[in-house]
């Protein structure tokens, strides 16, 4: 295909000759492709990070409310629970034969604008994000004492807390809450590694701590707190050999002994047991109302096939109006709402791209006048009209391809630049995998559309090349003649 080589070589030299205009046009194309690919990349990345906010959790159970509301407050900690789930129900769910584990969540407190999550140690084992990634501790470990608090990465970073710092939690979730649980200063015992999920923006305390806070607040009675402390004290030294890092757990291990010997070898089972512990403690203190309840429960099942069955059982729960949702399904529903915004962005990106193509065409059309001679010359040395047409198409093609390469390069550089910031601020990063099947299709379409659009100036060039005025001799001869006539 020597002809094609010549075609592109001539086209490339022609572009180099008109470099300033070509550079501007190429930048315009590159920018528009950059926006197009960038929007697509952010879309894909946010979709996957969104979908991976929570994994490994089969069901999320809360008091009956909307699916999305339950997901929003339990996972994203947006909004709040309309009602709570009683301990009796948590217990009942845990005892369901197909339920593997439960992790209760107690929400509703905050610290300087960050949500406080009361939960069990099982949360750190059970809650996964991304592709089954576990939450890991950057430093320290999970709470063992009631007054221990574990901080999400973003909380620790933005508030500047480290291990051993003490802080006061507030009731309610407003940034400046008037009700502080001043009575209970918490000590930071663990900092989580960044996850890029709402986990980063939360503080984690034990359910006992939540209870203690509210109990103290209401009655200022100390005995509940003491009770728990003593409970912890005389608990489980028997398993220190297996669970070195989980010494803190042992408060609950005694309970484990009598309901789950068979599962002791697995760390993973802790979540389940804590629920029992809580239940036991709640019973002991005879809490009722909000103190004896949690906001939501994360549930793990024995197998994927049990999901719908258990969900139905929960939704038809007799003692309490409960709602069980499949996180994946509800995330998708939530995503569909957000997807409209992205469709809009995508639409804008496409319009930007089309306008850059018009710019490209305008440049080629504007150059047509000065290219009359060039076309005439090419014709006179035997260039077929199709060569002229092909040359114009090749020129647009080159501009678009250089634009695309430039855009991809810029996107990679931009991801690198943004990632440094994102990683340190919110613990997420964009992948460098910027070419998806959809974006490859988009790029192919970009090339096809630009070729198609370049047919307009190319056709004009073709027409010029076949029109009688094509032989440049004529126009130029006439011009110089008229000049000469004027002077004589």
């Amino acid at each position: 295909m020597m002809g094609v080589t010549v075609l592109f070589s001539v086209a490339a030299k022609s572009l180099r000759y008109r470099l300033s205009g070509v550079i501007l046009t190429t930048i315009a194309v590159a920018l528009s492709v950059f926006v197009l690919l960038g929007v697509e990349h952010v879309r894909q990345e946010s979709r996957s990070s969104f979908a991976s906010t929570v994994s490994g959790v089969d069901l999320i159970v809360g008091a009956r409310t909307g699916d999305i509301n339950l997901l929003l407050f339990s996972v994203f900690r947006i909004g709040s629970a309309s009602a709570n789930v009683s301990w009796e129900s948590v217990e009942a769910i845990n005892e369901h034969p197909q339920v593997d584990w439960v992790v209760p969540l107690s929400l509703g407190d905050s610290h300087r604008g960050y949500r406080v999550v009361g939960t069990t140690e099982g949360f750190f084992d059970r809650y996964h994000y991304g592709r089954k990634q576990q939450i890991t501790f950057d430093t320290g470990s999970q709470f063992s004492e009631t007054a221990d608090v574990v901080l999400g990465a973003a909380v620790a970073k933005s508030l500047g807390y480290g291990i051993g710092d003490s802080l006061i939690l507030s009731h309610g979730v407003a940034d400046t809450s008037f009700v502080h649980h001043d009575q209970v200063p918490f000590t930071v015992v663990g900092l989580l590694s960044p996850t890029g999920t709402p986990v980063d923006n939360a503080l984690f305390v034990s359910l006992e701590a939540i209870d203690a806070m509210h109990a103290d607040e209401e009655t200022a009675q100390e005995h509940g707190h003491d009770e728990r402390e003593s409970h912890d004290d005389h608990n489980g030294h028997d398993e220190h050999d297996e669970h070195d890092e989980h010494g803190e757990h042992h408060a609950h291990d005694e309970h484990d002994e009598h309901d789950g010997h068979d599962e002791h070898d697995e760390h993973d089972e802790h979540g389940e047991h804590h629920a029992h512990d809580e239940h036991g403690e709640q019973d002991a203190h005879d809490h009722s109302g909000p103190l004896g309840s949690v906001s939501a429960v994360l549930v793990g099942l024995d197998g994927p096939f049990a999901t719908l069955q258990v969900q139905r059982w929960i939704n038809e729960f007799e003692d309490e109006a409960l709602l069980g949702i499949l996180p994946g399904v509800t995330l998708t529903q939530l995503w569909d709402i957000m997807a409209r915004i992205e469709d809009t962005l995508r639409g804008i990106a496409i319009l930007v791209f089309i306008s850059s193509l018009f710019g490209l065409n305008a440049m080629l059309l504007a150059s047509m006048r000065e290219r009359r001679q060039e076309i005439g010359i090419l014709r006179s040395i035997g260039a077929p009209s199709l060569f002229i047409l092909g040359m114009l198409v090749a020129e647009s093609l080159l501009i678009v391809i250089v634009g695309i390469v430039l855009a991809i390069g810029c996107l990679i550089v931009a991801i690198g630049a943004v990632n440094g910031f994102l990683m340190s601020e919110v613990g997420i990063s964009f992948s460098y995998q910027i070419l998806y099947p959809t974006s490859l299709i988009a790029l192919t379409l970009i090339v096809i559309v630009s070729v198609f659009m370049s047919l307009l100036p190319a056709w004009q060039a073709y027409r010029l090349s076949t029109s009688p005025g094509a032989s440049s001799s004529q126009s130029t001869t006439f011009e110089t003649r008229s000049l000469r006539d004027a002077s004589s």
Partner: protein, 231 residues
């Protein structure tokens, strides 16, 4: 005129007429005109006499409204557009008044592009180009310069090389010296004759400059042969 007779001529026109569109008068109306192979013709006439249009017809860039253009024995109207392009590339060389070269290609590339369209696949075309360039006194240092950077005189010399690279049998030259001063003009003409003589091709040289006419044995007034001229 028989085909056999046409074979004898570089150019044979018969009852040729051309108009740009049906509503305007004929620009070219030539009952008969021949140029023998290897013959050099000086064609002169005032502006608007249809000289450039005639050259377009001879080069096959334009299709006659009526009549026949036979070039080197080939009836141009019998060829497809693609065939005419190929024919022009291979058999006809064209030199214009000015702006002969693609400004963004180097001197050598300008010449080689013509050889590309001539479809003559010989590795020697480059050495032939360099050889011809040397013969028109364009030294090596200029070969890789962009054509647009050369002086007009240099460009016109490159144009001769470009026109002759495919060893055409007909050279069409349109006012090639009008942009040159006297010294350059004479040098250019001397070169042109030298190179054309060596190649043995026929030449139609269009100009209104009587000083050049003296160099030609045959001088045709376009007013005499073109009845369609409206001046």
């Amino acid at each position: 005129m028989s085909d056999a007779a046409a074979e004898e001529y570089a150019i044979a026109l018969h009852d040729l007429a051309f108009q740009y569109d049906a509503s305007t008068a004929l620009v070219v109306d030539i009952p008969s005109w021949q140029v023998a192979k290897g013959e050099h013709v000086f064609l002169y006439g005032p502006s608007g006499s249809g000289k450039s249009t005639l050259l377009g017809l001879l080069a096959g860039l334009q299709v006659p409204t009526r009549g026949a253009v036979s070039i080197l024995g080939e009836e141009l109207s019998g060829l497809s557009a693609r065939q005419r392009d190929r024919f022009r590339a291979q058999r006809i060389g064209v030199v214009f008044q000015q702006f002969n070269l693609i400004p963004y290609l180097s001197v050598v590339d300008n010449v080689l592009l013509a050889s590309h369209f001539g479809d003559i696949r010989q590795p020697s075309s480059r050495s032939k180009a360099l050889d011809l360039l040397t013969r028109v006194n364009l030294d090596d240092s200029l070969h890789d310069r962009l054509a647009g950077e050369l002086s007009i005189g240099q460009q016109q010399r490159v144009a001769i090389v470009r026109a002759l690279i495919n060893s055409p049998q007909l050279l069409l030259v349109d006012e090639p010296t009008s942009a040159l001063d006297h010294t350059n003009r004479d040098a250019f003409l001397a070169l042109l004759f030298e190179v054309v003589q060596a190649s043995g091709c026929a030449m139609v040289f269009v100009s209104h400059d009587p000083a050049i006419a003296a160099s030609f044995e045959r001088r045709d007034d376009i007013a005499n042969l073109n009845h369609g001229a409206t001046s």
